[in-house]
Symmetry: C2
Subunit: 637 residues, 2 copies
């Protein structure tokens, strides 16, 4: 029953490729590389060298490169990245006809790569200006017949020979950013970064920005490796750090090794070792991973099973329930009356908060009268079983809708999960669907709790949670941008997908500033107005970037000093229940160093729905997104 | 380099489940079943037995069945099929209020199964009338929250106690057909068939019809097994035959075993043995399987690579090229002139037909002058390499579009593949896409060859192929019907997907009559009119069935007595290049025994496109599908 105790391997798979410029025998070279442990090779496909033997033949004009029969199609498609001729430079000064010739060569090479079916072609960028190259790539990407990804290789840090200091003109991120902007942020265009030598390391912030890009591979040279005491190659600490940083996104590694190196396998083994040594598999990573396994099913093909799963996944977040338990503990410790306190758990689910309350009661030896209110009859079935088997029948079970229940008495303490729709959101997210999601204020949590407070003793009654605040920060994530715009549904304008917030487990992103507080809510709340507005300004940008939206988090006070947070600077350790929420902008905004980002958010409501509107105010104005909740809103009932 | 010599395992995976009515300890029972080798169990989820221990408790009304915490959600979702209470029979005579009660029980049981997340619920049918049951199932399927498949269990052959002969009223296929029709052919509703004992075997034709249904599982009883010489359980030959027949579709097996049986694992092992013994892995199965492996890629996520793949997959069909070689052989043997014959291979690709011609020339010791005409520059690159490395430069390579080439002389023999777009179709099919596909006349093949015949010596020139005929038969395939109607594209009416033929590797289907010839084409063709019309009548149906469309095949005469066929009755052994084509009807048509199916087909053309139209004439009229090629046509240029 391996499912019951499945151990997830705590390591990152390190996919390594070997660079082999123009091997005589490609098949043999691949066989050797695979034997060393490499997963693919990078090699040139077309070169005049391949014309040997055709001298004087009428067929010579037909020879473009290697014959496609050097490898099987599956091998081309799995094992080879094709490097384009390095001498082609469309954007260097030269004659018009010289450029045309270069264009022809490049188009033919790209066409040939596509014919072979290699997964990617690698193109070297050697300077900031790549406009003509961008046009050709953009033209190819438009074609239905072109099936390769484009890997653009450039230095992670540009070291000019004349100017060793490296000013803004030599920011290679700009080379990349210009080219991918010309290519409309197409997701098939990625970056391959040459790791610099140890004397020219990039700053942490520069790397952060690269982490927000579609980095496909890092290039490592043999000369960067040191030999350890056993004579085996190892990376200096500083380069290990770079590798570690990129482990949060799925990069591969391309090795440029000298032929003299006797045993290439040492490098692959070392990377595999790093994949184990450097990989931080925290609770969050495990949580996500465990849930991915969910999707496999040996029975018939299935649709999603959400019901018992939802509860189960949610209940896995022990940290969250421990935090609730702490809050209940504080409240009960202070309970000085002789009377037995009445505690109501509203939206009890399968009982994790009931359990938390009973735990406190037992530890403090203070009896409580506890109600568990839950409307789902299938969760009630579980509660009934637990009440018999675990709770000695102590809990009063109420199978009612919170909105209609006539409580027989008022509560001293009302305990509720921050249950908007975040549960469902997490599950759907794990099923790889992006759907409208939970925000700082957890969507309807204010309204839900406002509704439940009629069970609470006026004046003295305690609500757990007591208060929460949402936080916001500008973010660059072209990945999310691309996912949103790839949405296509009949009868729905694309706009609708941009006017919707998404719950996302962000990895391939770059947060452009620290978070700022946005909205605050308190419970009990006798004002009953949960509309809000705020305009938030962030510090000037330190470097150029692309703003694609805003990412949201929250901090909650459960009771007194017991808090719970998803805000990065105060994040509750190992709590996994909430992923950040992203509010997109319709178009990517180019930010320059010094630009100030300012955004406005509204939380609006009518009698039957709640929604957000948002707009960028600086450095450019955007339209106000989602007027009257036209694209996205949450029903109150 | 496992890709290079990957061996596909020639066996069918036999997924087996164990029936366990209401085990005391479900987790333990599952553990035992998995240890025996079973893959899942079938068990009841709700029963009054589970109320034990709640006597007198106020929670008793909340107990529906087992607690969901008996198993982890992944276990519910992977290991358990839930059997519904057998005593619920909505359609038996009884009071209205009794029926309401039963409806409530059924709805709750279905809801609970969905809450647990079991992949399927099993419901027993015990008679022909299941209208009320159908309404509840249909109602549940409509709900977003219901996530289970429905398995309807019934006897494969109904044996009435009073009437052992079994007349039409006892055709259990009718029970099934009525219910699934009420449920709008929903693909989540499947059949579980109780294999009959050896005295009541169904006819081959009855089984054929079941093969056309979504059979999810076969039920086997311990009593059907014999003991072999080693005392181990084996199925009688006749029941093995039934198992073998169902191997073409993906069924699972549910075992009802007696508790006395000491070692349950013997049954699973035996089924696994049958999976190896009975599985016919012909060239076709291997071909399809090999190409499925195509899709895996350890590099970055990929889109489809069609180019070199297309050639390679196509060239794998050695039988096809051997047949061509035979035809060329006949033609060259008869070549009596002193002159060296001029042979043109048009659409030479990477040269398989060039190779075939050279083989014949060598074997017969007759020199030939051979041209290879191909417009794809990347295939030309391959031809150039082959001409140098394999053909001693003997082949005259022409990198031209057939339509524009000015041939320097006329050909004695013109050789061409039946190349419409069938190549691309096969590949796309293997990539699990259903796209407009190749028919008997191979779409544009007539027009292509008509165009090429200007290179042929008038009067004496030989075209290979010389003639072909398309064939058609009525077919039942609700699977295809469901796949077509699940298509959703913005700006396209659903009609469009029904007015399109599809290339399909048919498995879960039932051919309702032998094929009949449809259209015929000859080459060379100096009339140049490829429009056609024919009305085809099939013999009366032997038994009730559902007509969902027509399936097409072809037979070709390459030269003299050398032929090539995909028509089932004359299919060229091991030739894999063409899958059948299916012309759908917009609505499933219920056929009764004795009904005569009659269909009309048109092949129409204008100066720029070719298309088919079709309509049913009997037993009902349908609209004429695809007028003027509005939904599907092939461009000529």
């Amino acid at each position: 029953m391996e499912d019951m105790e499945g151990n997830s391997e705590k390591r990152k798979r390190m996919s390594c490729g070997l660079y082999s410029e123009r091997p005589q025998n490609l098949k043999e070279d691949i066989r050797a590389a695979l034997e060393y442990g490499f997963h693919f090779i990078v090699t040139q496909l077309t070169h005049k060298e391949f014309l040997k033997g055709f001298e004087g033949s009428p067929d010579a004009p037909y020879v473009l490169g290697r014959t496609d029969q050097s490898l099987k199609a599956t091998e081309w498609g799995r094992l080879v990245v094709g490097e384009l001729s390095r001498y082609v430079d469309l954007d260097s000064a030269g004659t018009e006809s010289g450029r045309f010739q270069d264009v022809d060569v490049l188009e033919q090479e790209l066409g040939f790569a596509s014919h072979l079916g290699v997964p990617a072609v690698l193109i070297h960028l050697s300077g900031p200006r790549n406009l003509q190259l961008a046009r050709i790539i953009n033209d190819k990407l438009y074609s239905d017949r072109f099936n390769c990804s484009i890997w653009l290789q450039m230095p992670m840090v540009h070291i000019s020979r004349n100017d060793p200091i490296g000013d803004l003109e030599h920011d290679t991120w700009d080379w990349w950013n210009d080219l991918r902007t010309f290519c409309d942020y197409d997701k098939r265009v990625g970056v391959v970064l040459e790791i610099p030598d140890i004397k020219h390391l990039p700053s942490t912030e520069e790397i952060d920005r690269w982490i927000g890009e579609p980095v496909r591979a890092l290039v490592l040279k043999a000369s960067y490796f040191l030999l350890n005491q056993y004579g085996k190659p190892v990376l200096p600490k500083a380069l290990q750090e770079i590798v570690k940083r990129f482990m949060t996104i799925d990069v591969q590694y391309v090795f440029h090794l000298d032929i003299e190196v006797s045993d290439h396998s040492l490098y692959v083994k070392y990377m595999s070792f790093l994949g184990k040594k450097l990989y931080v598999c925290d609770t969050m990573a495990e949580f996500v991973q465990g849930c991915e396994d969910f999707l496999q099913n040996p029975l018939q093909p299935l649709t999603e099973h959400l019901e018992a799963n939802i509860y189960e996944v949610f209940e896995k977040d022990q940290v969250k329930y421990d935090t609730y338990q702490k809050a209940v503990n504080v409240a009960l410790e202070r309970w000085s009356s002789e009377e037995v306190p009445v505690i109501m758990v509203v939206g009890a689910g399968r009982g994790p908060l009931v359990q938390a309350v009973l735990n406190v009661s037992k530890v403090l030896r203070k009896p409580v009268k506890i109600y568990a209110v839950e409307k789902n009859p299938y969760a009630m079935n579980t509660l009934a079983h637990r009440n018999k088997d675990e709770w000695n029948g102590k809990v009063i079970l109420v199978n009612e809708d919170m909105r209609h229940w006539q409580a027989p008495e008022l509560a001293d303490i009302l305990v509720s999960e921050l249950l908007g729709r975040e549960l469902l959101n997490i599950i759907l997210l794990l099923l790889n669907k992006h759907i409208p999601g939970s925000f700082g204020d957890n969507e309807l949590s204010p309204e839900c709790l406002d509704g439940a407070q009629r069970f609470l003793k006026p004046g003295t009654g305690i609500s757990i949670p007591k208060q929460y605040t949402s936080f916001i920060a500008p973010v660059q994530s072209l990945k999310i941008f691309n996912e949103i715009r790839s949405n296509r549904l009949p009868d729905k304008p694309l706009r609708q997908f941009f006017e919707t917030p998404y719950v996302v487990h962000l990895a391939n992103y770059y947060q452009l500033a620290p978070t700022e507080p946005l909205f605050e809510f308190h419970h009990p709340n006798y004002e009953r107005d949960n509309r809000r507005f705020k305009s938030v300004k962030f510090p000037p940008q330190a470097r150029a970037a692309i703003l694609t939206g805003f990412v949201g988090f929250f901090e909650a006070i459960l009771y007194e000093d017991v808090t719970m947070s998803t805000n990065p600077s105060t994040h509750t350790t190992d709590m996994v229940s909430w992923f950040p929420i992203v509010f997109p902008l319709q178009n990517p905004v180019h930010l320059k160093a010094g630009d100030v980002v300012r955004v406005s958010f509204w939380r609006e409501e009518t009698t039957d729905k709640v929604w957000y509107e948002w707009c960028l105010e600086s450095p450019f104005k955007s339209s106000i997104m989602n007027p009257h909740g036209r694209s996205y809103s949450i029903k109150k009932h």
